[in-house]
Amino acid sequence: MEVFFSKYYYWLSYTSSFSVLVPLLASLILLKQFGRPGKVFWGVFLYIVFLAIVETLGFLSVYLWSGSNLWISYLYVPIEYALLSWIYYMSFEQKQIKSGIIISVIVFLLACIAEAFWGAGTHNMNSYSRVMESTILIALALLYLFVLYKDLNYVYLEQDPMFVLSCGVMIFFAGTAMAYGMFNKALAISDNMARVCMTITYVLNISFNCVLVLVQRRAVTA
C-alpha cells in the first residue's frame, strides 16, 4: 500500500485532474465537425468547462495560495448540482418534475450554505453536501430512466445522450458517495486513509470524464 501511495497515487491524482481535458477537447472537435448541436450538448459542455475551471483553480490554490483546495469543494458542489440538474430540467417535459428540480436546487443550496457556515468548516470536506448531492442526482437519473423506459419511442436507449449521462451520473455518484462521506473521518486517522477514499474518486472521475465524451458524441447528432 505504501508503495502505491508513494509512487502511483500522485500520478493517479494528476491523471484524474487532467482527464477533464479529454471531454473538453472532444467537445471542441465535435463542435467544429458538426456545427449546431442541441441543448444537451451545450449543457454538458458548460459542465465540462466548469470542471476544467475547478481543476485549474484547485492547482492554483495548492501552489499559489493556501496549500489546500478543500474550500473549492464548497463552491464546486452546489454549482455542479445546479448545472447537472439544469441539464435534467431541460430534458424533462413534465411540469411537476421541473418544479421539483427547481425546489431541490434551492433546498440544496441552503443545505450547502448551512454546512459551510455551521458544519465542519472550509478546511474539511463538505461530506454531507456531497452525499446529499449524490443522492439527489442518482434519484434524478433514476427518474429519467423511469420516464424513458415508459416511452417506447426510444428504440435505441444507448443512443440517447441523456441515458448515457444518467448511467455515468449513477455510477460516479454512487461510487463516490461513501468515499466523500467517510473522507473527514479517514483524514482524522491518517493521510493514507484519506488517500484510499480519494483513489476511489480519482478512478471514478476518470471513468466519468470518458463517459462525458460518449455523451457529447451522442448529443451532437441527437
Partner: protein, 271 residues
C-alpha cells in the same frame, strides 16, 4: 483500515446495484419494444389477411358476373337476334318498313352483345389468363374507345414473359384503375404505359398528360381518395414500391415496382 471497511464493502455493492439497474432498464426496454413490434406485426398480418379476403371475394364475384354475362346474357341476346331474323323471314311479303325495323333492332342488339362481351372481358380478361400480362395490357390499350379521344401507347421489353397468375391479375387491375381514373378525371390526350421486366422485378410506368392533382395535399388530406389507397394496399400486398408524381396542370406519373418472385405466399390471395 477498519474505519474504511464500510467504504470498501458498500461502494462495490452500490456500483453493482447501479449497474444492475442500468442493465435491467436496457433489457426491459428491449423486451417491451419486441412486444410492441410483435403486436404491430400481428396487426399488419391481420390487416393483410382482411385485404386478401376482400380482394379474393371481389375477384370471385367479378368472375361469376363475367361468366353469367358471357354465357347467359350474351347467349340469350344472340338467340333473340336469331329469333328476330327467323320471325321477319317467316313473314310473307314483309314490307320495307318491317325490314328497316329489323335492321335497326339487329344493330341495337349487336351493340348490346358487344357491350356485354366487353364488360365481361373487363371483369375477367381472358387474354390475361391465356396470354399473360404483357398481351393483356396490349388488349386493354386497344379496348379504349375512340370516343374517349385519348391516345394510349404501350411498350414492353418482353411480351412473352409470364408471371405468377395472381401477380399478373393484381398488376392488371392496377393499370385498369389508373386508366379508368385518367379517362374519368384527367382530361388527358395522351397516356403512356410501359412494362419493364428484369430478372427479379417488374416495373410498371404509367404516365398521362392530364390535369394532374396536388399529390402532397392529397396525402395530407384526412380522407385520401379510394383509388390511391387501393393502389397502395395492392402494392404493399406485393411487397412492392409505389411512386406517384403529380402536380396540378402537369399530368400524373406513377411507377410501380414489385418483385417477380413472391416469397411470402401469404401475401397473395388465392383465386
Amino acid at each position: 483500515m477498519n474505519v474504511l471497511q464500510p467504504l470498501l464493502i458498500i461502494t462495490p455493492i452500490l456500483l453493482l446495484l447501479v449497474l444492475g439497474v442500468i442493465v435491467f432498464v436496457l433489457l426491459y426496454q428491449k423486451r417491451l419494444l419486441q412486444h410492441k413490434e410483435q403486436v404491430q406485426r400481428l396487426q399488419t398480418t391481420k390487416q393483410y389477411q382482411l385485404l386478401e379476403a376482400t380482394m379474393q371475394a371481389q375477384e370471385e364475384e367479378r368472375r361469376r358476373v363475367a361468366r353469367d354475362l358471357h354465357d347467359e346474357v350474351g347467349s340469350m341476346l344472340s338467340l333473340v337476334r336469331l329469333n328476330l331474323h327467323q320471325l321477319v323471314a317467316g313473314i310473307d311479303g314483309a314490307n320495307e318498313e318491317v325490314r328497316h325495323a329489323e335492321q335497326t333492332i339487329k344493330k341495337l342488339l349487336d351493340e348490346v352483345i358487344g357491350s356485354v362481351r366487353r364488360i365481361s372481358h373487363d371483369l375477367m380478361p381472358v387474354v390475361l389468363d391465356k396470354m399473360g400480362l404483357a398481351q393483356a395490357l396490349e388488349a386493354l390499350r386497344r379496348s379504349v374507345p375512340a370516343t374517349a379521344k385519348v391516345a394510349v401507347t404501350y411498350e414492353c421489353n418482353d411480351k412473352s414473359r409470364r408471371l405468377e397468375p395472381k401477380l399478373e391479375l393484381i398488376l392488371y387491375r392496377m393499370v385498369q384503375e389508373l386508366l379508368n381514373n385518367t379517362l374519368k378525371h384527367a382530361h388527358a390526350t395522351l397516356v403512356h404505359v410501359k412494362l419493364l421486366f428484369t430478372d427479379d422485378e417488374v416495373t410498371l410506368h404509367f404516365e398521362d398528360d392530364g390535369v394532374g392533382f396536388d399529390y402532397a395535399a392529397h396525402l395530407q388530406a384526412a380522407s385520401q381518395g379510394v383509388g390511391v389507397v387501393s393502389l397502395r394496399s395492392r402494392v404493399n400486398l406485393l411487397n412492392g414500391k409505389l411512386n406517384i408524381q403529380s402536380e396540378a396542370g402537369v399530368g400524373t406519373r406513377v411507377e410501380i415496382t414489385v418483385p417477380t418472385k413472391q416469397h411470402n405466399q401469404q401475401t397473395l390471395y388465392q383465386l
